[in-house]
């Protein structure tokens, strides 16, 4: 027993010995980007597909944006729309006709020239593909309905008068169209390539961006290499971008500290607190408010969630101060789906207060005076589980007993899209483009309410639909904002989610990573990053 005690003591001492955890490397002081090298980062889950018409998860996003260029893009570090594959564009005065002039000399990664027809094919492919999450975004294009319904092969509103000119004619005004066309699904695609790849398309992205796929060891790593045919070689400096899959966040940070990764994000609590308090790391920490919303969504067609009073009761029962502290003060309490800073958000709308008495009264009124037992699904992630357990504890206070089930991210995302799936679960959404329609339409418009849909609350409200349709088509900014505020109020009151928080993210990079800042939409976009390392390619020690 004495020996055992000695061993334990020795282990403790070893574990507690102070290690130097400040950055191991420094910059060389170079002021111009250096070409070459591989940037390595990791994600917690794995990428389901690299087919741009289908892929819609954040992990895929990190590699999709370097792989696929679109007509227009957001400026680096900004939400301003800049030309990319299109040299210029114009919008008709009535807001219905968009004309894009393609840049000369743009090609696919094998050197084949890109023409306007490739854009037309790509948009039509999204419309035709039933399990594309993007087809609904194109609904306002003239003739889009017919392609979606399968009654037309090509879309009337998308035309290619010249090889380098694309015209998109809308049936009704949609001020968010440019934002929609920045998404990777709108990258040009080749019919013959798609046909030849068949069901392997998910593994064989037909790159049009500054990078192309080198290889994808599924579940392990996605490796991108520089696209030699890219029209603007000055945009990329790295030889390769390597994204490791399925690495737990605490392991990511350990690898980062050993300089096996060049960036780490979604830090575990102790690592987060460490980087936030260690002065030497401060210049390399990026805190950013990604446009997201996190909470719990309910299937409003299933008992007991079919009763609005129950949903409101749950909102009153949640104590948002708890989540705030659990997540180290990195959250903003939510009153609805739109995050702070988003156009259309009503800053005066108050989040549901924590009110146990009111919650109990509402439950009793709805016919559940003794509370109710419900199942709840969350993902196998330290943070989401912690939030779920805290929710469980909060709701227990008003008699709502939650039974937790933990699923992998991929199982969870599929399960909650089905009407017969788990009725009560964790949910999160991030904007695809900076417009309220990127939140409200996919999540709460009744047209999106179908099997496998993004409206996974299965919420259908004609009054809200009418507001969203009117707002989407409203060219006047002031009137549009007023419509979205009314929509927010309806959703706040109807409560298809338990509105919880908007999350700030923290990313820490190695001192030698240059030209990088997390993007509000693309998040971890390393397209233009470069490595400020020595002539031998190795980072310079401090």
């Amino acid at each position: 027993m004495n020996q055992l005690g000695g061993v334990i003591a020795a282990l403790l001492v070893a574990g507690c010995a102070p290690a130097d955890r400040s950055p191991k490397f420094r910059t060389t002081g170079a002021t111009t980007p250096r070409d070459g090298g591989t940037l390595r980062f990791a994600v917690k889950d794995q990428v389901p597909t690299l087919d741009p018409t289908i892929a819609n998860d954040e992990n895929a996003l990190y590699v999709l944006h370097p792989l696929f260029d679109t007509l227009i893009d957001f400026a680096p570090n900004d939400l301003e729309i800049v030309p990319r594959l299109a040299e210029r564009w114009s919008v008709s005065p009535d807001g219905l006709l968009y004309t894009f002039e393609l840049r000369p000399g743009i090609t696919f990664s094998d050197g084949v020239p890109i023409t306007a027809a490739h854009f037309k094919y790509s948009l039509e492919r999204a419309l035709r593909t039933a399990d594309s999450p993007f087809n609904e975004y194109l609904r306002d294009i003239e003739g889009a309905h017919d392609v979606m319904a399968g009654s037309a092969a090509t879309c009337l509103g998308i035309t290619t008068p010249r090889e380098r000119e694309l015209k998109v004619k809308l049936a009704q005004v949609n001020p968010a169209l440019l934002g929609i066309l920045t998404m990777s699904f709108a990258t040009p695609q080749r019919a013959e390539y798609v046909r030849a790849a068949g069901d392997q398309l998910r593994r064989q992205p037909d790159a049009t961006g500054p990078f192309m796929l080198e290889r994808w060891d599924e579940g392990e790593r996605v490796v991108l290499k520089r696209n030699p045919h890219y029209f603007d070689p000055s945009r990329a400096h790295l030889d390769k971008i390597e994204m490791l899959e399925n690495v737990a966040s605490d392991a990511q940070f350990q690898m980062f500290e050993r300089a096996e990764l060049d960036a780490a994000e979604k830090l575990a609590v102790p690592d987060y607190l460490f980087v936030m308090t260690e002065p030497a790391w401060q210049p390399y920490v990026h805190r950013s408010t990604v446009m997201n919303s996190v909470g719990s969504r309910m299937n409003v067609r299933v008992k007991p969630f079919d009763d609005r009073r129950v949903r409101q009761a749950l909102n009153y029962a949640l104590d948002k101060r708890h989540t705030q502290r659990l997540l180290n003060g990195t959250t903003v309490p939510a009153h609805g789906i739109l995050p702070p800073g988003m156009f259309g958000r009503d800053p005066d709308l108050e989040p549901y207060p924590h009110d146990v008495v009111k919650a109990r009264a509402l439950l009793a009124e709805a016919g559940y005076p003794g509370g109710v037992d419900v199942d709840y699904v969350t993902t196998n992630d330290d943070e989401t589980q912690k939030v779920a357990e805290s929710l469980q504890s909060d709701l227990a206070e008003v008699g709502v007993r939650i039974h937790l089930t933990v699923m992998s991210y991929a199982t969870w995302i599929t399960a909650i899209g089905k009407p017969s799936g788990p009725p009560f679960s964790f949910m999160t959404w991030a904007a695809d483009f900076p417009d309220p329609s990127a939140f409200l339409d996919p999540l709460f418009h009744s047209q999106r309410d179908r099997d496998g849909s993004s409206n996974n609350s299965f919420y259908a409200n004609p009054a809200l639909d009418a507001l969203l349709d009117a707002a989407r088509q409203e060219p006047d900014r002031g009137r549009r904002e007023a419509l979205y505020r009314r929509a927010e109020q309806i959703l706040h009151d109807d409560a298809p989610w338990i509105w919880d928080y908007h999350r700030e993210t923290t990313e820490v990079i190695q001192p030698y990573v240059g030209g990088y800042k997390p993007h509000p939409i693309w998040e971890r976009d390393y397209t233009s990053a470069w490595l400020d390392v020595g002539a031998d390619g190795a980072p310079v020690a401090r």
Binding site: G15, S249, D250, A268, V269, P270, D271, L273, F274, D319, R321, H322, R325, L326, L327, N328, G329, D375, N380, D382, Q385, K386, A388, E389, S390, Q392, S393, D394, H403, L404, T405, V406
Partner: protein, 273 residues
């Protein structure tokens, strides 16, 4: 002796859990149980073993975890014992073709790496039974833990079945059922007790492993494996989250192993006498 004391202490803790800690092991106390930055609190007068990442009392959880972990290990061992004992007795007594067939079945199961089989079964049971309970865990451990028992009991039974004592019983017309229950079972009881105690220790550890892999009882159930898993990221700033459940697992496994070995020594001594 040390084993018996440890095991007795564990069982007492499990049974007296509600008395030993006034605090609810499931109650999150984010306001008082965490620092302003959201860090678990170290051991103090208020919480003797500190609080966990949700502000819950670690002592209350480790004590409640004794019940969860021990009951899962007990049920799993019971399942393994029922299967192992039946197959072992049948194979050992019947011999020949039946023995051969059953032992190849055992080989088949043993051919799978224990952990892989357990992970597969746990995932299947979980899917079949989405309702949160401990059943998938002890069913899994029971289903992968019987082979060694069957092997050992079969060996002992086979020797006995060819002994003069059994031949005599057969000669006076005892039925196979009578022979197995009256004569063989009492004589393999020593072996059974030893393999049960050792199997128990193994199941305790396996439950922790499954919980650590996220295949244990669903949250917020306090099991030692889950506590260890959830606490792992906090090792640097709140080591008690890992050390406490780790020590509990260590003591319990050592306790049952020592008990098993002690019982084996006792049984051997009896045989020699």
């Amino acid at each position: 002796m040390v084993g018996a004391v440890l095991v007795a202490a564990l069982v007492t803790v499990a049974v007296l859990a509600p008395v030993l800690s006034a605090k609810d092991p499931l109650a999150c106390d984010v306001e008082h149980g965490l620092s302003a930055l959201g860090v678990p609190l170290p051991p103090s007068g208020d919480a003797v073993l500190g609080t966990d990442q949700l502000g819950r009392d670690v002592w209350a959880r480790v004590v409640a975890g004794a019940g969860t972990s021990l009951s899962i290990a007990a049920l799993a061992t019971l399942i393994a014992l029922v299967i192992g004992l039946s197959i072992g007795l049948l194979a050992g007594y019947a011999g020949n073709a039946i023995d051969n067939a059953l032992m190849r079945l055992v080989d088949l199961f043993l051919a799978f790496p224990f952990l892989l089989l357990a992970i597969l079964l746990a995932a299947l049971f979980r899917q079949a039974d989405l309702a949160s309970s401990n059943a998938p865990v002890f069913l899994t451990l029971g289903a992968v833990g019987w082979m060694t028992m069957a092997r050992m009991i079969r060996g002992k039974t086979a020797v006995l079945a060819r002994s003069e004592m059994i031949m005599a019983a057969r000669a006076i017309g005892a039925s196979p059922g009578q022979i197995v229950v009256r004569h063989i079972l009492p004589n393999v009881a020593g072996t059974v007790i030893v393999v049960t105690a050792l199997g128990f220790a193994q199941n305790l550890l396996a439950e922790s492993v499954l919980s650590y892999l996220g295949l244990g009882p669903p949250p917020p159930a306090p099991t030692w494996g889950r506590m260890l898993y959830e606490g792992r990221t906090y090792f640097r700033i709140a080591p008690h989250l890992v050390l406490v459940p780790g020590a509990a697992i260590l003591l319990a496994v050592i306790g049952f192993n020592l008990l098993g070995e002690g019982l084996r020594d006792a049984a051997d001594a009896k045989v020699q006498r």
